[in-house]
């Protein structure tokens, strides 16, 4: 849970509820826009891909912030570092795999 600035009572509840609602609305917008672009089908493929990518990454950040409650505060530092380290491992492995395999494809053509 994110730590509410006002502790106790219905205000703290509303603060936390607002967090989940904000996350839900942002995630919904970040989902609907790329889906709509693909459904439309009139925009150039490269533009659509960029929008999908940027909106996807943004939505992951929204999930981390509002649902997993990991932010830049001191008490979340452990989880934040763990996530950043894991993310860097994953990105290295994905980038490395794709680099090598697409290089192989190119050589086999």
């Amino acid at each position: 849970m994110s730590s509410p600035k006002i502790i106790g009572g219905p205000e703290a509840y509303r603060h936390d509820l607002l967090g989940y609602q904000t996350g839900f609305v942002l995630a919904a917008i970040l989902t609907i826009v790329p889906f709509a672009l693909v459904a439309w089908g009139t925009f150039p493929a490269t533009t659509v891909r960029w929008v999908i990518g940027i909106f996807g990454v943004t939505q992951i950040l929204v999930h981390v912030r509002y649902f997993l409650h990991v932010d830049l505060s001191a008490e979340r530092r452990e989880e934040l570092y763990l996530m950043l380290f894991s993310a860097s491992l994953v990105l290295t492995m994905i980038a490395g795999t794709l680099w090598i395999l697409f290089n192989l494809y190119a050589r086999m053509m």
Partner: protein, 224 residues
């Protein structure tokens, strides 16, 4: 002699009430027996599990994307032939809403809104999870009927490595949810039950996060 034994934690019964107890392993602070600390540490451990799970998903994503060159379709169906935007949109809606309703359940636990409210939101979450699984299974059945089986091409092997792995996680999460509903019914919202629900909440939110990657890369990337 005694001090050496204590510092290694080898003989905890010696002078247990004189010297402060040390936590096990590489931990330099005295051990606190509080339930709260234990729950916090367990949650940290669950974070470690989720991040290793993230790495498995990451490699499945890498495998899938590396199988997107026309050569890997092996003359079989392509993403454009197979994927339907409507199904993917419905699955996404079900899972995203379920992560929100789990949030409402977490809030009901945190602010002691009572067992009935917690149970209600968890049931809604479970129902949405099952809707998601139903949609996913029907999609796989349709693909199988069209001859799109895992062994058809590299692309389909990659697809059936990644997407059903996520579905399997949602299945495990749903079973876990059912078990927690039984525990709430039988034992009530005890500290143990709350601690398990906190981990399940993390797991469920994490699955939705993975799904964002799947619908972006597999479905939207495949159709668009």
């Amino acid at each position: 002699m005694n001090t050496i034994a204590d510092s290694h934690g080898a003989n905890p019964t010696v002078d247990a009430d004189i010297a402060p107890r040390r936590a096990f392993g590489l931990s330099f602070e005295p051990e606190y027996g509080h339930e709260h600390d234990r729950a916090r540490i367990t949650l940290s451990g669950f974070w470690l599990f989720m991040m290793s799970d993230l790495i498995i998903f990451g490699l499945m994503f890498a495998t899938y994307v590396s199988m997107l060159k026309p050569m890997s379709f092996a003359g079989g169906p392509t993403p454009k032939d197979l994927f339907e935007l409507r199904g993917a949109a419905l699955e996404t809606a079900a899972l995203l809403t379920s992560t929100f309703t789990f949030g409402l359940a977490s809030l009901a636990i945190k602010y002691d809104r009572g067992r009935a409210q917690v149970t209600f939101w968890l049931m809604v979450t479970l129902a949405l999870g099952l809707v998601f699984l139903g949609l996913e299974v029907s999609e796989f059945v349709r693909m199988f009927a069209a001859g799109a089986v895992p062994q058809r091409s590299g692309f389909l092997s990659g697809f059936f490595g990644l997407v059903p792995l996520h579905g399997l996680h949602v299945t495990a999460g749903s079973i876990w949810l059912v078990m927690m509903l039984f525990q709430i019914r039988k034992a009530g919202l005890t500290d143990d039950v709350k601690s398990r629900l906190a981990r399940l909440a993390l797991f469920w939110h994490f699955l939705d996060l993975i799904w964002v990657g799947i619908f972006s890369v597999v479905y939207l990337g495949g159709i668009g």
